[in-house]
């Protein structure tokens, strides 16, 4: 955390949280009806959880690369456990799951730590893909084989491969740009702010549902308001990135749109399995996967856009 720009970014986030907590307190004191009180209580639980999440994230970024990589590895494991809990896996898949948790996931993050981009990019789509299928074949049970195997593939892709692209930003060599941790903060900030602002705009102005069958709380008003506002914030943060203001706007828009898609897809999986949340790890937010569903899709898209356009 020697980089003064990074200090300013984190300071800005903390200021934002102070404002949010103050607003939450005002809303709670003004709530008259039971419904309003419940909404305010849920909002304040979410804000308290945000303090904790920001604290953990800041400490991780503060410690440099290893801290961030370890934090995202842990997030992947927590997300994967929530994902697999809902999967129709059986006893015969036990060994495959052990491999996924204790070999594939740590290895993916180890590859980031040692900056081996080539293997990082293909380890899960090629080697884990084959390993999972073969391991399930060796276990010898064929009923719902494709469903069971594909679910583990999906769990590894979404919870490990996709999420790992966030800390992988640290290994990009961008000419004239240092301390890539700022890029990681930029991604996470824009993605999560987009989520929060979609929620806020949806609560304030939401009228027209965008996908009632998948996520009843998502509205066009929330989507447009959240995406545009978060992109505006991302654009305003161009000084912390290697991008020009225009490029920062385009990147922010890509992040928020991919994030929105991720949220919808992960919701569809929840509806299919008949649950509201993936877990109850984070008070007011649900499970780890409920919190990072947007990041799952935004991280690899942002990583590769940055890598393609901004590295030699």
């Amino acid at each position: 955390m020697k980089d003064p720009t990074l200090v300013r970014l984190v300071g800005g986030i903390l200021a934002l949280l102070v404002v949010a907590s103050a607003l939450g307190a005002v809303l709670a004191s003004r709530a008259r009806s039971d419904a309003a009180r419940a909404t305010a209580a849920n909002l304040n639980a979410r804000i308290r959880a945000w303090w904790l999440m920001v604290a953990v994230f800041t400490i991780a970024v503060w410690t440099g690369g290893i801290g961030s990589i370890a934090l995202f590895a842990l997030m992947s494991l927590l997300a994967l456990r929530e994902f697999v809990t809902l999967a129709p896996t059986r006893r015969e898949d036990h060994r495959t799951l052990l491999w996924s948790f204790f070999a594939v996931t740590p290895l993916q993050y180890l590859l980031i730590a040692i900056r081996w981009y080539g293997l990082f990019a293909i380890m899960i789509p090629v080697y884990a893909f084959v390993l999972v299928a073969v391991s399930n074949v060796i276990a010898g049970r064929t009923d719902r084989f494709l469903e069971r195997t594909a679910t583990i593939h999906w769990g590894l892709m979404v919870c490990v491969y996709c999420v790992s692209h966030a800390p992988a930003l640290l290994m990009l060599q961008i000419p004239g740009y240092r301390a890539n941790a700022k890029l990681l903060v930029f991604l996470v900030l824009v993605v999560q702010l987009s989520d929060v602002l979609q929620y806020v705009f949806g609560k304030l102005f939401g009228r027209h549902r965008i996908a009632p069958a998948i996520s009843p709380n998502k509205t066009w008003e929330g989507f447009l308001g959240g995406v545009l506002a978060a992109s505006a914030v991302g654009t305003a943060l161009w000084w912390a990135t290697p991008f020009s203001p225009g490029e920062a706007a385009a990147m922010s828009l890509a992040i928020t749109l991919a994030g929105f898609a991720g949220g919808l897809v992960m919701s569809a999986i929840k509806r299919d399995r008949g649950v509201k949340d993936y877990g109850n790890l984070i008070e007011g937010h649900g499970g780890m996967l409920d919190r990072i569903d947007s990041l799952c899709f935004a991280a690899p898209v942002f990583f590769h856009l940055t890598r393609y356009f901004f590295t030699p």
Binding site: R81, V84, T85, T89, H94, L98
Partner: protein, 202 residues
């Protein structure tokens, strides 16, 4: 101290959500009975209890598994203070000795965790209960019975596997029940099994 750490570790590995349908158990003496699908069962049930109830609760476990090997014996004796029983000897006198042993180990203070199915099932169905639970309750009819449903532990550590896959699990503590004075053995065992099964879909 060690027990508290082990309980935290067990809750972490099993990612357990805990539900109490009639409030967290106090220190009163009772018999917890649950479905059985994994070696983790009693560890997770025990770790889900509030610390003060946990201190007084002893799992009933098979000597042929938990009494074998130094590490397992250390845990079963020192940490869980398990009541180790002989399994599958089949004779009526042996069964009677086991019940007497359980009653003696309970004293007027300890609670027990028992798995009346007798052996680990596949996790899909709760098997019919063995009669031990009935005979124990005949001896200790004043003691509260608490049905417990353990969900997903069979997938975390299935039969025959050494290492757990850290998925999420659920422990549901039901409402207390007692053995009625005029209740026949089959009716009681079926009622107890239904009480566990009723927690399955909550």
């Amino acid at each position: 101290m060690i027990a508290g750490l082990i309980a935290s570790l067990a809750r972490l590995v099993s990612g357990v959500s805990i539900f109490f349908l009639s409030g967290p158990p106090d220190e009163r003496q009772r018999v917890y009975f649950a479905n059985h699908t994994s070696h983790l069962d009693f560890v997770v049930l025990w770790s889900a209890l509030p610390a003060r109830a946990r201190d007084r609760t002893r799992p009933v476990a098979a000597r042929d598994y938990w009494g074998r090997g130094a590490l397992r014996r250390y845990f079963s004796e020192k940490v869980f203070r398990a009541v180790l029983i002989e399994r599958g000897r089949g004779s009526i006198t042996a069964a009677r000795t086991t019940i007497e042993q359980l009653v003696a180990e309970m004293g007027d203070r300890s609670s027990l965790i028992v798995f009346p199915e007798g052996t680990r099932g596949s996790g899909e169905e709760v098997a019919p209960f063995k009669s031990g639970l009935y005979h124990l309750c005949r001896q200790k009819s004043e003691v509260e019975l608490l049905p417990v449903y353990l969900d997903n532990l069979n997938r975390i550590l299935p039969k025959g596997e050494m290492l757990p896959v850290p998925m999420l699990s659920r422990v549901v503590f039901g409402r207390p029940m007692y053995l009625e004075s005029d209740e026949t053995k089959p009716r009681f065992l079926e009622r107890a099994r239904d009480a566990v099964r009723a927690l399955q879909d909550l």
